[in-house]
């Protein structure tokens, strides 16, 4: 039987990891992910997480240990943030190109400089082309459910890729709310044990991992890797559907839509700001404005077809990015949506917004303003080639 508790996002992630029965964990603390490591070591100490655990000297070693462990065929988990992810870049890329289904939560935090510890998914979105699957979530229940599903997606035979479940630092990691925790039996029934068959370091079946490889063969591996990313589009939806059957909660698979059916305008975003968007969309609807939300859950693989479908027949859209794409004048998600539409030959008026960097709050007021501005841009038939910056006005008592 599941039970209801009040958890912060980090504790929700730690419970998900525990319930998924990882066999090896290696993690290094970094704000705002630190409590995840503390919770996991506590679970380990009290016997509720019977795995091999390594308290490493760096994130580079955390991912390296998991790469080694995964090469012996076992289930692996870790979590990190920001600079820790950056330090992992080398083994991060390798874990995906070795096709190792490691699960890693990324507690999104802005990249320095300037010195900061606060939220923003610049860290993981920058690494969207390193071959991992990346899913972004909106609240703590979704952290827990998606992290459990992530093992299933990553380990499925047609995918075999590592996966990140990303959530906003502080706004989710340190926010407490009601979360339903499934029982171990329920999760076991959903998630069978994992044993690698495609690649393994084992004296019983000796093989070389990573021989010096010519470009032609390397391209073959890359092609298969890209096909596996596409297969993940299906695997994510399947895992969500099965999870919904068993646990009664669906998160929509690769995307989530809210009040889009009869919408004329769509707001597009990912992560915790989608909660404020839902609230503001309801307000706008109450005033007769037909606006809906397209929440991107899977950034990699990018759900191109679902995005095209969701936007079909709309007047236009606006994208709120909590990140920047240097040198392109917009945020990363805006570019992704624009590129997907180009592939369908579609052209919509569109507004681009950047805000909420470095833990700056995306308040209801700001989000409502972005919706209003989107409608103006779309009605004027314009396409933003430069993002508008969402800034909170100073308040007085």
């Amino acid at each position: 039987m599941s039970r209801v508790d009040v958890l912060n996002g980090n504790l929700a992630a730690a419970h998900a990891a525990r319930l998924s029965r990882p066999e090896v964990i290696a993690a290094y603390p970094i704000t705002p992910q630190t409590p995840v490591v503390e919770y996991l070591t506590q679970f380990h100490a009290d016997g509720s997480l019977p795995c091999q655990m390594s308290e490493v000297e760096s994130e580079h070693s955390a991912m390296s240990i998991l790469t080694g462990a995964s090469l012996t065929g076992v289930r692996c988990y870790t979590a990190t943030s920001s600079q820790g992810l950056a330090l992992m870049y080398e083994p991060y890329f390798r874990a995906s190109t070795l096709r190792l289904p490691i699960v890693m939560n990324i507690v999104n935090r802005e990249m320095i400089s300037p010195q900061t510890v606060w939220g923003g998914p610049q860290d993981s979105m920058t690494l969207r082309d390193a071959g991992w699957l990346q899913i972004y979530v909106e609240d703590n229940q979704e952290i827990l459910d998606t992290t459990i599903q992530a093992f299933k997606v990553a380990e499925s035979a047609e995918v075999l890729l590592p996966i990140n479940v990303c959530y906003d630092g502080f706004y989710l990691s340190h926010m407490t709310e009601r979360v339903e925790i499934p029982s171990q039996e329920e999760v076991d029934a959903f998630l069978p044990p994992y044993r690698s068959r495609h690649i393994i370091l084992d004296p019983e079946t000796p093989m070389a991992v990573d021989p010096l490889t010519n470009g032609r063969l390397l391209m073959e591996y890359r092609r298969k890797h890209m096909a596996a990313q596409q297969a993940a589009l299906v695997a994510i939806e399947k895992a969500d559907a099965e999870y919904a059957r068993r646990f009664g909660r669906s998160w929509g698979g690769v995307i989530d839509e809210y009040r889009t059916e009869d919408a004329e305008y769509l707001m597009v975003s990912l992560g915790s700001v989608c909660g404020a968007l839902r609230e503001c969309i309801d307000d706008a609807r109450a005033r007769g404005v037909r606006v809906g939300l397209l929440k991107i859950r899977s950034l990699r693989p990018f759900p191109r077809a679902r995005v095209i479908e969701a936007l079909a027949g709309k007047k236009g859209f606006g994208v709120i990015d909590r990140n920047v794409s240097f040198g392109t004048n917009t945020g990363i998600l805006f570019q992704e949506i624009r590129a997907a539409l180009y592939s369908a030959g579609s052209r919509y008026p569109a507004a681009s917004f950047i805000g909420g960097l470095g833990g700056e709050d995306l308040t209801l007021e700001i989000v409502a303003g972005a919706i209003k501005s989107t409608i103006e841009t779309v009605d004027a038939g314009k396409i933003d080639n430069e993002a508008s910056w969402l800034v909170r006005p100073e308040r007085k008592a």
Partner: protein, 179 residues
């Protein structure tokens, strides 16, 4: 939806107190969330925490700018930060103070003021001035937004019976001024 803002200092258990209120709300079948505003947490530094309570799921994951209730765990903070910024009409104010509520200055929008000598109760019961549990008792007495038993149960589970008895005593000894 009710929105609450807590002002405290590092080491007073401000963030934990906010979580207890959410626990109590969920235990009685409601919904709530709490978000701490984080700096580098150090003992003595000003700490702010935000709470939302509602009968239905709460979607915004943002800070609270227009609180219905303000909880001040350390009166000296009033000189460091403007604790009343954004406060709504008919708001509640709960202050850790040995003085009666009549002595507390507050804008007109604040219509209910409560005080409790949280430090005194805490020192007497557990030997240290950690005001968060007493402030929980005062909060419940003043607003009635969550049930006292749910708060006491959660505090007992987290920190034991001595702390739970602080909540009860604070609940009983809180002075309230409605104006």
């Amino acid at each position: 939806m009710k929105e609450i803002r807590l002002h405290g200092r590092g080491g007073m258990g401000t963030v934990k107190a906010a979580e207890v209120i959410v626990h109590a709300m969920v235990a009685q079948g409601g919904f709530g969330n709490s978000i701490p505003f984080f700096g580098f947490e150090r003992q003595g530094a000003p700490v702010t925490s935000f709470i939302r309570l509602d009968a239905k799921p709460i979607r915004p994951k943002t800070q609270v700018y227009e609180p219905d209730c303000i909880i001040v765990l350390d009166r000296s903070l009033q000189t460091a930060v403007d604790v009343f910024v954004g406060v709504r009409e008919n708001a509640f104010l709960i202050v850790n103070s040995a003085e009666p509520p009549e002595s507390i200055e507050a804008p007109k929008r604040v219509t209910t003021i409560a005080t409790v000598d949280a430090n005194e109760i805490s020192i007497r019961k557990i030997g240290k001035p950690i005001p968060n549990t007493a402030m929980l008792g005062a909060f419940v007495k003043c607003t009635g937004w969550v049930e006292i038993d749910a708060v006491v149960d959660k505090v007992a589970a987290l920190w034991g019976d001595a702390n739970a008895s602080i909540v009860r005593e604070a609940y009983d000894s809180t002075l309230i001024l409605r104006r």
